[in-house]
């Protein structure tokens, strides 16, 4: 890209200057529109976001921020979950005691566990509210229908995360919830009993089920969820940014070809004016 400073540009500058540009490639406090756009585009963590968004997308009323809130609860869950993993042991003999120790003996353990628990509840709720907002604003319609499909998978993964995490305290509530929950899986026609057996790793809820649910909860599902979240966000850009009403689209100037990151990649410009 044009933004990478040439070696002779940084030559003779201070060491701090050279270190900064070796990492970020753009000035620390951008003043021009171009610099601002580039500091977003050149940053690994920010580049998933469009360099330019429509004014309407920035209004709180447009989305109520529900998608991002869901994402942030996921971040909280990853951070607190990893910390909880340092003290938790997924065996029937130890799981319950370790959970109690987390609440009584670990510094800030109660806070961590409660953060994890409440964020998990919040994530399910926020994901549902986010879907409701998307549906009610018609944002699931073409060309964004595949992102809706991704969203449905994200919801299912979120629910499955919630379900697998529910067993881990290994108390009576958890145990019987999973007995009942996996019995529901057993009701599936033909393959029901097999699915239940594979899910539990045994014919009843025991050490194998606890181990399987733990691995699903801390490794398999978060990885899949992270990948799908990345895909979900990327699709927002590729589908032309957040959905806007037609009268807004009609007023909007035609996408300027190379400059617009918001335009759908292969969409003809006349599509915008429909």
């Amino acid at each position: 890209m044009q933004s990478v400073p040439h070696a002779d540009e940084t030559r003779g500058k201070s060491i701090l200057h050279r270190i900064w540009y070796s990492i970020f490639r753009s000035p620390p406090l951008p003043v021009s529109e171009l610099d601002r756009a580039q500091s977003v585009a050149n940053n690994f963590f920010l580049h998933i976001h469009s360099a330019k968004v429509h004014e309407r997308a920035l209004r709180f009323k447009t989305t109520l921020g529900l998608g991002l809130m869901t994402f942030f609860t996921f971040i909280i869950l990853v951070v607190t979950g990893i910390l909880l993993m340092f003290y938790y042991v997924p065996t029937p003999e130890k799981a319950y005691d370790r959970m109690l120790d987390l609440r009584s003996a670990v510094f800030f353990g109660t806070f961590l566990r409660n953060m994890h628990r409440w964020s998990a509840h919040a994530m399910v709720l926020l994901a549902l509210l986010h879907m409701m907002r998307v549906f009610l604003t018609g944002s699931h319609k073409s060309p964004r229908e595949f992102n809706w499909v991704l969203g449905v998978f994200l919801l299912l993964l979120t629910l499955f995360m919630s379900f697998t995490g529910y067993l881990l305290p290994w108390d009576q509530l958890a145990y019987w919830a999973i007995v009942v929950g996996t019995a529901i899986a057993g009701y599936a026609p033909v393959v029901g009993d097999q699915v239940r057996f594979i899910l539990l790793g045994d014919s009843q809820v025991g050490s194998e089920a606890l181990l399987r649910f733990y691995v699903l909860h801390v490794a398999v599902l978060p990885t899949v969820l992270t990948l799908l979240i990345g895909w979900h966000f990327w699709r927002i850009r590729k589908d032309g940014g957040l959905a806007r009403p037609r009268e807004d689209l009609a007023l909007a100037p035609a996408p300027a070809g190379t400059g617009s990151d918001n335009a759908p990649e292969d969409a003809p410009p006349e599509k915008e004016e429909r």
Partner: protein
Amino acid sequence: MSDTKLSKDRPPKEGNSRRRVLGMIATGALALSGSALGLLTAVFFKPRVTYGPPQKFRVGKPATFTSGSEIAYQKQAVLVRREGNQFAVISTKCTHLGCTVNATDIGFECPCHGSTYDRRGSNVSGPAPSPLAWFLISLAPNGDLVVDKDKKVPAGTYLEIKA
């Protein structure tokens, strides 16, 4: 420079070229090995050895049960009933959603959603869709009673032991 020379000699052809056939073979081989791997992984998740309580287990000598008794085995979720010299094993796993039912004077009752069963294990009321299972009980060569939860028997099947 050699690149331009090559492309001059052999201009890219449309349609069924050798490259296209090789590509199709490679794609087919990848799909085949991919689905084979998927199948193997699916088999991997079905355990051959389980570590929970075994499906077949001994409950002791017939003499340890008194006539008219019903002894519940919590872990295995079964109940051993003796009436006279007859023995039977009835599942205490509710057929609704798998909670453990309790024996009552008139049969069984599930604490979770209130399903009730009569003494034969037939579902009488509540959400339970089917009767409680009866399992095979037999005598081992050393005289121990053996319960096999993998083998279901019709309700009302008793094992007669000579006193």
